[in-house]
């Protein structure tokens, strides 16, 4: 006993010594690299799996891609709705009258970062040939590219270049460097979103030398010309440092879309006239667990930005509509609430004869009635309250509120719950508990998804759909359920969509017939009139006429009861008061990071 007590005492003393040694002043994982330097610590809920622009398929990868690389165009820091601006491009392109030829000048004197891949280890000047090379990589199967859809069938000659073996020494007819600083893009048909496509992380400009030197490891070793360069990267965080060679371009707040009325309290005036980036080190922590992210944010000396997790809404908000923080949070943090550039929706897969197209026209009419009844049973308000904190925006159709084509006056009957109407519709078309088809609801294997399914099943039960006929099929990973969607294995598909660019075309293409499985038209909706309108609008520049066409297409989808839609989540961004920024993760994501500045001392007052 005495011996054990002595040893236990020794261990206690040791533990105490460890605790004392370990606690104390704050240490950032940036370690010595941060000493005496201005650091901004951002947080995101996921990590990018690759830093190669050809795989910049999500907002996480784009946050890095557009900050270590350059794109020809980018989105203005503060303008809402989103507006493009020239970035690496030296002004707007010259566009031929037939809208098929774009001539883009590139800023001279832009250099890649120093890297052993270059002769003498010194970064060389970025040229138009680099842009050509970077886009060609999306048509080289060996790079496992994910961005070809942006230019496939639109930029002339790229498919042929791929078919000929993706030889980078061979030209692609539609993508030519006329000289060192001039790029010509020849289109197969007008492509109004071309400049948006050139603002994507996919279009980031990479040097051929680095790709060839590092091979597969290029995905972990970016060599770009963006405002930052990589220091380290793992699944927990990425550390970037200021690129000392980044071009000097003083911020013109007015040109960036600054609105003093709505953005006046964030201290943004302090960056006017100065050239970004303003911080020496940019650290992004990838924190999937909301509680850990929240604790790290509120701690004060760790991450300086977070979105408010749903489970913290009651604690943080004094009011949900309009979003207003409680005074104690208002005092400590800046905040900004914004609707996402995307939406949550569900579609019926019309390839299933139980719900969609059927050789018998009579049965097809009954199927449509069944779909309409299910839509009437869906309770969007309850879904919003249960899973999105009650602050999401529910609206009819698939044109989301952040795009200029959104019509707030669209009738709301398709998102208004009508249990009696649903029952009546089923009865009128001969549906009853015996002949209703089995509805397989596919989800990934998370608790939240399971709860969503149970809620949905309960709604259907109210309209007479037997519980036993609404069945759950769970998939272990997102890749697995993606396979099921692409292979048209599920009659009911619940998913989210983030806009690639601020144009309703990006969501309307989700129902374009030729985009059926394995394309993004998971509903396999085939409506010749819809397809004709899509093709007509897809070559038109933004105009009231095009908006009218978009809205007609939206109405068609509502009338055909193809989808249960939609809801755009509202994100509440919080950041420390010593950070000068207006964070945003929508539309590509991460353009704001180069404009972030950090004060030496917390600012008092303000928003």
């Amino acid at each position: 006993m005495q011996f054990a007590a002595r040893v236990s005492l020794g261990f206690t003393a040791f533990l105490a010594a460890v605790l004392l040694a370990g606690c104390g002043e704050s240490r950032t994982p940036a370690g010595d690299a941060s000493a005496g330097r201005k650091v901004y610590r951002h947080s995101m809920d996921e990590a990018p799996s690759s830093l190669d622009p050809v795989q910049a398929a999500n907002v996480y990868a784009n946050h890095v891609a557009i900050n270590v690389y350059d794109t020809l165009y980018s989105y203005k820091y503060l303008a809402r709705p989103y507006e493009l601006k020239p970035n690496l491009a030296d002004g707007w392109p010259e566009i031929s009258e037939d809208l098929l030829t774009y001539t883009i000048r590139i800023k001279p004197g832009v250099h890649f970062i120093d890297d052993p891949a270059f002769e003498g280890g010194v970064g060389r000047e970025l040229t138009a040939e680099d842009v050509v090379y970077s886009i060609k990589r999306h048509f080289d199967p060996a790079t496992l590219p994910q961005g070809a859809w942006l230019w496939q069938g639109r930029v002339a000659g790229l498919q042929e270049w791929k078919a000929a073996g993706s030889d980078y020494d061979q030209p692609a007819s539609g993508l030519v460097a006329l000289d060192r600083y001039t790029l010509r893009i020849q289109l197969a048909k007008p492509y109004p979103q071309l400049l948006d496509s050139l603002a994507q992380g996919y279009a980031a400009v990479v040097p051929r030398e680095a790709v060839e030197r590092y091979g597969a490891q290029f995905a972990m070793r970016p060599v770009g010309s963006g405002p930052f360069r990589l220091v380290s990267f793992d699944t927990s965080r990425i550390l970037l440092e200021r690129n000392p060679k980044f071009r000097q371009e003083p911020v013109d707040l007015e040109a960036e879309g600054y609105d003093p009325a709505t953005q006046g309290g964030y201290g943004l005036e302090r960056i006017a006239g100065r050239s970004p980036p303003f911080v020496d080190l940019l650290e992004m922590d990838f924190i999937n667990e909301p509680s850990a992210r929240w604790n790290s944010f509120t701690k004060g000396d760790e991450v300086q930005y977070t979105t408010v997790p749903n489970e913290q809404l009651d604690r943080v908000l004094a009011s949900r509509s309009p979003v207003r923080l409680k005074p104690e949070y208002e005092e400590r943090y800046h905040s900004f609430a914004a609707i996402e550039a995307g939406f949550i929706f569900q579609v019926f897969n019309l390839n299933f004869p139980e719900f969609g197209y059927h050789p018998d026209p009579g049965q097809e009419r009954r199927n449509k009635a069944l779909r309409c009844a299910i839509i009437k049973a869906f309770d969007w308000e309850a879904r919003n309250e249960s899973f999105y904190g009650g602050i999401g925006e529910v609206y009819p159709g698939i044109i989301v509120p952040v795009v200029p084509e959104f019509d707030p006056d669209t009738p709301r009957d398709s998102i208004t719950r009508d249990v009696e109407g649903a029952r009546r519709l089923l009865a009128e078309h001969g549906w009853n508990a015996q002949n209703l088809p089995v509805l397989t609801y596919g989800t990934t294997g998370s608790v939240v998804m399971r709860l969503m399914f149970e809620q949905f099943r309960a709604w259907l039960k109210e309209i007479g759909y037997p519980t036993s006929k609404v069945v759950l099929r769970q998939y272990a990973t997102f890749g697995d359920i993606s396979r099921a969607w692409k292979q048209s294995e599920l009659p009911w598909i619940a998913k989210g969509w983030g806009l690639d660019y601020p144009d309703a075309e990006n969501t309307l293409q989700l129902f374009y017939g030729p985009n059926g499985s394995p394309g993004s038209n998971d509903a396999n909706y085939r409506n010749p009139e819809y397809d004709r309108l899509y093709e007509q609008a897809s070559v038109m520049l933004a105009s009231p006429e095009r908006t009218g066409i978009y809205r007609r297409m939206n109405r068609m989808l509502i009338d055909d009861c193809v989808a249960v839609t939609g809801l755009s989540r509202k994100r509440i961004h919080l950041w420390h008061r010593d950070v000068i920024a207006l964070p945003d993760r929508e539309i590509v994501g991460g353009f704001f990071l180069k404009y972030v500045d950090v004060l030496d001392k917390p600012a008092a007052g303000g928003r």
Binding site: G22, P145, A219, T235, T298, A476
Partner: protein, 317 residues
């Protein structure tokens, strides 16, 4: 010489085990695991593009060819590159395994040493209040979810509303002080959770040993309690203790601790393995599964040799 022969025999006997484990796990990976094709596809893919990605990933090869390639990789310890990041798997393991080891080792050591001490104490006071108190606390430790322990410890030790002494997350080991700064709270969480399981196990082993005749005889001869517990009891129940400890090591070295790494933002092998599972990054998964099997065979060999060291009656024949 006897030892060398024995080691070689055991290693040879481990080959069927490795083949069995790798075959079953590879079968599961190929036919039931996540298909990375659909994670790597762009929007609106054509069937041709799907086929291209499958070809790039090697999914179009026959199973036998792929399995033979796996065995070759295992034999040469060259698992190629991660399909997600392009990072060579050996570099990934070299980068993450030491972090996991540094993360879990203090908790592992403390969890076992403290558990043995508590088990000795409880066994010595069997059925009296110290025993009941220790076992009661052990059950409490076992009953609380690891996740809740982590969140609670983060709030208590790291958050602004708690003691705010340590970081919520992050990792650094450039100095001992920095290492202690980041490892302390994860270690406390690991110790809290493992202590209950370990203490209960060790106590039952020690209590059983205390019923032996030689212990009763030693006690009758007036051996002091501390000496009795250490030399007559603990020394004679080292075999199950060694077995438990050594067989835990491969899991620590290779699998790491996913939850701890994830919540504390530590770039260890547990998180890397989890990410690989979620996207179906087969080169990483193959390496982790294969190396875990190999390490278990080595652990088995090591345990057998240790048996001999702690109990001379054990024969290597």
């Amino acid at each position: 010489m006897e030892m060398l022969q024995y080691s070689l025999r055991k290693l040879l006997a481990g080959i069927p085990l490795i083949l069995g484990v790798t075959l079953v796990s590879f079968l599961l990976m190929v036919y039931f695991g996540p298909d990375q094709t659909y994670t790597l596809l762009g929007k609106n893919p054509t069937p041709e593009q799907i086929a291209e990605v499958r070809a790039q990933l090697g999914y179009d090869q026959p199973f036998v060819t792929r399995y033979a390639g796996y065995l070759r990789e295992l034999a040469t310890l060259d698992f190629g590159s991660s399909h997600s990041t392009g990072e060579p798997v050996s570099a990934l393991l070299g980068r993450t395994a030491p972090v996991s080891l540094a993360l879990v080792a203090p908790g592992f050591v403390l969890g076992n040493v403290l558990a043995i001490l508590l088990a000795l104490l409880a066994a010595h006071h069997r059925s009296r209040w110290p025993d009941k108190a220790i076992m009661g606390l052990a059950v409490v430790g076992m009953s609380i979810s690891f996740l809740i322990v982590i969140v609670a410890f983060q709030i208590v030790f790291s958050s602004a509303s708690g003691l705010n002494m340590f970081p919520v997350r992050g990792w650094g080991a450039s100095s001992l002080r920095e290492y202690l700064h980041f490892v302390t709270v994860p270690t406390l969480a690991i110790v809290f959770v493992s202590l209950g399981y370990n203490t209960r196990f060790y106590r039952s082993v020690i209590v059983e040993e205390m019923t032996r005749d030689h212990v009763r005889t030693a006690r009758a001869f007036g051996t002091p309690p501390a000496r009795l517990m250490l030399r007559n009891v603990l020394a004679n129940c080292l075999i199950p203790i060694v077995t438990r400890i050594v067989f835990s090591i491969p899991l620590i070295a290779i699998s790491g601790s996913l939850i701890v790494e994830s919540y504390f933002g530590i770039p260890g092998i547990g998180k890397a393995t989890y990410d690989a599972i979620m996207v179906g990054d087969q080169p990483v998964l193959k390496a982790v599964v294969g190396l875990t099997a190999v390490l278990f065979v080595l652990a088995q060999l090591f345990v057998d040799i240790l048996y001999r060291a702690v109990d001379p009656r054990v024969s290597l024949q």
